[in-house]
């Protein structure tokens, strides 16, 4: 089993968020300009080439934490205090929420297969034998790869007995399931926002944290400080991330100022009920298969890369969509904030005109850090809107299909399920084949762009396997899985 790791980049981002939230809440905006100095003080260790580059990177991290994109900077001397003041008058940056600090990008090599000095030019030469493109020859006692012929399949690296051939990855581009990442002339990262499906995998993958997202938590903190009623729409994955029972986390949300807490699991139930009925109807009309609709990065993938899949994607609104409708109907005066591990939900909210804000598990975690709230000390409370455990398991791969099967109208045969548990370049191609041939290996294709389901989202704070276990441990008696 892989050892769960938190990267220094994750830790820096969370620390920045916590300080920004603290300052925004207290109204001490000038403190934000001191964050880069506080985190990289004179004479102390630094991570990049020098302390000043670290501080410059931290400044842009603060800017994105405040809700603005690095690309929108017009005056390099504009203070962070001034950006913080903008949160009072300007909405946070809109879609695309991805933002790049090019000077943090290390301009890594293109992904390629490389022969290292460990090559001994051996007699056996399995590399030349296995290469399907005849791209390897041994010259002057060493294997050489003709890069114009090489297709990066990696077979030679697998068979070399000296581990002399390595596959050098390009972290961001390899993580991107749809080829949206390119390079500028000087080798730095660019993202084609027309191709990007907003999944956020590149943010997690970049070892230099050059790819960031613009946050919305500062705006939510401001709205609460101004006395607006704000409703928290809590995604089920969130309840797998904190070492506490859900009721205590809800109490913490009340303590930091949310007026109501709604479990998006209730929206999950709504989605499953409607999607089950939709499948029954589609099946009756001879549909070969149907894909789930709740994952917003999947929806972006269909729109931007797989138009042929459109007829097979469920039309049912997402759990967030149902939660938003319910909240706005009950309290039209309130602002709604979705809290989840997902980046693409911001784009979904932007397209549908609600919820008003989307914050991530990471932003919530940083907020609780900023307020120094100890979850275990709180008295658990019940949420204003609660879902069933079927809705709660939308957060875990397999949970959506399971809920749909549970809510099938009577007389509908139980559908077979094919799971896409983490989208990548290979299964995007496979999904294209399903759509083009109008044939799939199962009735329902459950697509979760993140591995493990939402619990494996780019803005999660606990390991996906642990979060899934925590959620599944709460299965009530009689739960059918």
């Amino acid at each position: 089993m892989a050892i769960p790791m938190i990267s220094e980049a994750d830790r820096l981002r969370r620390e920045v968020l916590a300080y920004v939230i603290k300052a925004v809440k207290a109204g001490t905006y000038e403190d934000i300009d001191r964050i880069p100095i506080k985190m990289r003080p004179k004479g102390k260790p630094f991570s990049r080439c020098c302390i000043y580059k670290d501080r410059a990177a931290l400044r842009y991290r603060c800017m994105s934490a405040l809700g603005f994109r690095v690309e929108d900077e017009t005056d390099e001397l504009k203070t962070l205090k001034s950006y913080a003041e903008d949160t009072e008058t300007h909405p946070p940056a809109s879609d695309p929420f991805l933002t790049i600090f090019p000077d943090a990008c290390s301009a890594c090599m293109e992904s390629q297969i490389m022969v290292t000095n460990m090559c001994r030019g051996c007699l056996a030469r399995p590399c030349t034998n296995i290469c399907p493109r005849h791209a390897i020859q041994v010259r002057n006692g060493r294997a050489m790869i003709a890069h114009d012929l090489c297709v990066n399949c990696g077979k030679c690296a697998e068979v070399c007995r000296y581990h002399a051939i390595i596959q050098v990855p390009l972290a961001c581009a390899d993580a991107c399931p749809v080829g949206a990442i390119g390079k500028t002339d000087d080798g730095r990262v660019t993202v084609d926002h027309e191709k990007c499906i907003r999944c956020g995998k590149c943010i997690k993958a970049c070892p230099f944290a050059a790819i960031m997202q613009s946050n919305q938590v500062a705006h939510v903190v401001r709205a609460i400080a101004k006395g607006k009623p704000v409703i928290a729409l809590v995604a089920p994955a969130i309840n797998g991330f904190f070492p506490t029972e859900p009721g205590k986390l809800y109490a913490a949300l009340k303590q930091i100022g949310f007026a109501e807490v709604h479990e998006v699991a209730k929206g999950g139930d709504d989605t499953a009920i409607h999607e089950a009925a939709e499948w029954a109807e589609r099946k009756a009309h001879g549909a070969p298969f149907m894909t789930t609709s709740c994952c917003p990065a999947w929806i972006e993938c269909v729109e931007r890369h797989l138009p042929e899949m459109k007829p097979y994607v469920s039309d049912t609104p997402t759990p967030m969509g149902y939660a938003e409708m319910r909240a706005k109907k009950a309290r039209p005066d309130a602002l709604t904030v979705f809290i989840g591990p997902c980046m693409a939900k911001r784009t979904e909210a932007h397209k549908h005109g609600g919820p008003d804000y989307v914050i991530t598990a990471e932003e919530l975690g940083a907020w609780l850090m900023a307020e120094n709230i100890q979850l275990d000390d709180l008295q658990p409370i019940a949420p204003e809107v609660a879902g069933t455990h079927y809705g709660a398991e939308f957060a875990v791969s397999g949970g959506v299909a399971n809920a749909v099967a549970h809510y099938l109208p009577e007389g509908t045969p139980k559908p077979t399920v094919f799971k896409i548990n983490g989208l990548n370049k290979k299964n995007v191609a496979l999904l294209r084949v399903f759509a083009k041939t109008k044939k799939a290996p199962a009735d329902i294709i459950e697509v979760m762009v993140c591995p493990g389901g939402c619990v494996g989202g780019p803005c999660a704070i606990a390991p996906a396997e642990d979060a899934a276990k925590v959620i599944q441990k709460r299965r009530p008696e009689g739960f059918e899985a």
Binding site: P4, I6, R11, Y19, M39, F242, G365, N372, Q374, P463
Partner: protein, 90 residues
Amino acid sequence: MAGEEPIVVEICMGTTCYVMGSAQLAGIAERLPEAWRPRVSVKGMRCEGSCQQEDRLGRAPFVRVAGKLIAEADEGKVLSAIREALGETR
């Protein structure tokens, strides 16, 4: 070595520590070498306020190994501290 007191590893489960990396350390007991397991006891601990000192939240997560508090704890630091407490040289 019957009767020997196990080395106690306490992982802070306070909010700051959890968000800053305890979540990833929480399962460390399952990753200990087989030979160490009977001699090491891993548990969670409540926030003792260490994260609020020195004005840097980045010192979290905190882990205590055999009474010694480790700041900015990670897998490597915790394992070396356990190794030292067990009196193993490598």
